[in-house]
C-alpha cells in the first residue's frame, strides 16, 4: 500500500491523559477519518502528525521523510488546520498572507485570494475581528494555497454553517480525486465527515480501537430487526446492543456476512429485517463495550 503518512507506536504523556502505541497509515488518494469521543486523543494525535507537539516516543513519516531532517520539506507539502487556528491576531488577513508567502516554495497568492472571496473573508480585516468559523476558513485557505499534498485537519466543520460545511466536504472530495493527494481529518462522527471518509479510524482513551475501510465496515455492521422468537438463541447471542420491544427486537451485529445464512430463513419469511448501521452506532457500541 502506498502510504502518504505512517505513524508507528506514537506515544504522548500528559498529566491526566496519554496516547499509547498509536500506529496508523494514510493511503495515498484517500480520506481518513479519525473519530472518537471527547478526550480520546484525536487532537493530540493530529498535532503530533503535523509536528505541532513533540511525541514522547514513536515515529512519524510523511512522504517517506521524517520530521527530524525533513521538517521543512514536509511542512511545505502539508496543509494543517488546527481546531483553534493560531494567528497574529492584531494583524490583517492580508498581512498574514504576505507573512507566509516567502516561506512556501509554491505559494499561490491568486488562489488564496480566490478562496477568501469564496469563503467571504475580508482580507483587510484584522484576524481578531474574524469569527471562529472565519478563522477556520482562513486557515483552510492558507492550507490550500501552497500546493499541499496532504491535508491534516482538526474538526474543520465545527463552527461552520451548513452551506460551508457542505462546500468543505465537496472540496475535500475534489482534493483527493486525483488519487495522489490525501486527507486525514479528526472529527466528531456527527459532523458529516463520515460521509466522505474512505478509511475509518476510531480512537478511544488514547488507543486506536478500530482502523478499517468504511465500505468493509458498513458491510459487516448491521442492525437486525426481528420478531421475538424468530431467530435461534445462538444467533441472538451473537448480537450486541439488544433491544427488546413490544413489537419487535433489534440487535447489532459486527459480522453480518457470517450471520447471513442463519438469518436467511427469517429474512425471506419477513420475520427479520436488515438495516445499515451508522458510524455513530458502531462507535457507541465500541465505546460502551470497552
Amino acid at each position: 500500500m502506498d502510504a502518504i503518512l505512517e505513524a508507528r507506536n506514537v506515544e504522548k504523556q500528559y498529566e491526566d491523559f496519554s496516547l499509547s502505541g498509536v500506529s496508523l497509515e494514510v493511503r495515498r488518494g484517500s480520506i481518513t477519518g479519525l473519530f472518537g469521543p471527547n478526550g480520546a486523543g484525536k487532537t493530540t494525535l493530529i498535532k503530533i502528525l503535523a509536528h505541532q507537539v513533540p511525541a514522547r516516543a514513536g515515529a512519524v513519516r510523511v512522504f517517506g521523510l521524517s520530521y527530524g531532517d525533513g521538517e521543512r520539506e514536509i511542512k511545505n507539502r502539508i496543509g494543517y488546520v488546527a481546531q483553534d487556528p493560531p494567528f497574529y491576531v492584531d494583524k490583517t488577513v492580508q498581512w498574514t498572507a504576505r507573512f507566509v508567502a516567502p516561506y512556501f516554495a509554491h505559494w499561490d497568492g491568486a488562489h488564496f485570494y480566490g478562496l477568501l472571496e469564496e469563503f467571504r473573508v475580508n482580507p483587510l480585516k484584522k484576524v481578531r475581528h474574524l469569527s471562529g468559523g472565519q478563522k477556520k476558513l482562513l486557515s483552510l485557505a492558507l492550507a490550500l494555497s501552497h500546493g499541499a499534498e496532504l491535508l491534516i485537519l482538526d474538526e474543520p466543520t465545527a463552527g461552520l454553517d451548513v452551506v460551508y460545511r457542505r462546500a468543505l466536504l465537496d472540496r475535500l472530495r475534489t482534493f483527493v480525486a486525483d488519487g495522489e493527494r490525501s486527507v486525514i481529518v479528526a472529527s466528531h462522527v456527527t459532523d458529516g465527515l463520515d460521509e466522505i471518509a474512505e478509511d475509518v479510524c476510531i480512537l478511544q482513551d488514547g488507543r486506536i480501537v478500530m482502523h478499517e475501510d468504511k465500505d468493509g465496515l458498513m458491510s459487516k455492521w448491521k442492525w437486525i430487526h426481528f420478531r421475538d422468537g424468530a431467530l435461534a438463541p445462538a444467533v441472538v447471542g451473537r448480537l450486541s446492543n439488544l433491544r427488546r420491544q413490544p413489537f419487535g427486537d433489534s440487535g447489532l451485529t459486527e459480522d453480518f456476512p457470517a450471520l447471513r445464512e442463519a438469518l436467511a430463513r427469517a429474512l425471506s419469511a419477513g420475520d427479520a429485517k436488515v438495516e445499515n448501521a451508522k458510524l455513530e452506532d458502531i462507535m457507541v457500541s465500541l465505546i460502551k463495550g470497552a
Binding site: 513533540p54 521543512r72 511542512k75 504576505r98 507566509v100 516561506y103
Partner: protein, 215 residues
C-alpha cells in the same frame, strides 16, 4: 527581509531609538557622570525589547510554517546580538568622542562593555525563559527584575549627587584593573559575552524544540 525578522526588529529598533533619543543625549552633553549611570539602563531597554517583541508573537502560527525551530531561534538571537552591538557601539563611540573632556576614560570603555555584555546575556536568558515557561509565566518575573534594575540605577544616580567622587562603579577594583589595558579588556569581555551568548543559542535551540509552553 525575512518576515519574522521584519516583525520583531520593529521592537528592537524602536527601543534603541528611544534609548538614544531620551537617555543617549545625556552622554553627549553635561559634565556630570552620565557614563556612570546611563549604561545601566541598557539591559533594561534590551530586555524590554525582547519582552515586547515576544508579547505578540505567535509560535503556534510559526509552527505551521516550514520554518525550523533552530531558524527561529537564530533569527531572534541574531536580533538580540545585533541590538546589543548597536547599543555598545553607540556608547563606545560617544565615550571615545568625549575622551578628552574627562567624563570618560579607559574605565568607561571597560564599564560600558561589561554592562552591554551583561545586557546581551540577560536578553538571551529572557528569550529562553519565554520559550521554556511561556510568556505569561516569564513576564511577571522579568518585569519585577527590570523594575528593580531601574530603581537601583535611579538610586545610584541620586547617590552620586551626595558622594564627592565619581565614577563609583568605574572605581570598582575589577573595573580599574581591567582598565589598565582597556582595549585588551574590552576585547576579552566582548569575546566572553559572545561566547556565553553562543552557548545560550545552543541551549535556546534545544529548549525551543522540546517546549510546548510557547504559544
Amino acid at each position: 527581509m525575512d518576515p519574522i525578522l521584519r516583525r520583531s526588529s520593529f521592537f528592537y529598533l524602536s527601543t534603541l531609538v528611544i534609548y538614544v533619543g531620551v537617555l543617549g543625549k545625556y552622554l553627549g552633553s553635561d559634565p556630570w557622570p552620565a557614563f556612570e549611570v546611563i549604561p545601566l539602563f541598557m539591559p533594561v531597554y534590551l530586555a524590554s525589547a525582547v519582552l515586547s517583541s515576544e508579547r505578540g508573537e505567535s509560535y503556534g502560527f510559526l509552527r505551521t510554517l516550514p520554518v525550523m525551530d533552530r531558524a527561529v531561534v537564530r533569527r531572534k538571537f541574531g536580533l538580540v546580538l545585533g541590538a546589543a552591538t548597536a547599543y555598545w557601539l553607540f556608547m563606545m563611540l560617544v565615550a571615545l568622542a568625549r575622551w578628552d573632556s574627562d567624563v570618560s576614560g579607559p574605565a568607561t570603555l571597560v564599564f560600558v562593555t561589561l554592562v552591554c555584555g551583561y545586557g546581551l546575556v540577560l536578553g538571551a536568558c529572557c528569550q529562553i525563559a519565554i520559550w521554556r515557561f511561556g510568556f505569561s509565566a516569564t513576564i511577571g518575573v522579568a518585569a519585577a527584575y527590570l523594575g528593580i534594575s531601574i530603581v537601583v540605577a535611579i538610586a545610584h544616580t541620586v547617590g552620586l549627587r551626595r558622594s564627592a567622587g565619581w565614577p563609583v562603579l568605574g572605581q570598582l577594583g575589577g573595573v580599574q584593573w581591567l582598565a589598565g589595558a582597556p582595549w585588551l579588556s574590552v576585547a576579552a569581555l566582548a569575546g566572553l559575552s559572545v561566547l556565553v551568548f553562543w552557548g545560550l543559542t545552543k541551549l535556546g535551540i534545544r529548549v525551543k524544540a522540546s517546549s510546548e509552553a510557547c504559544v
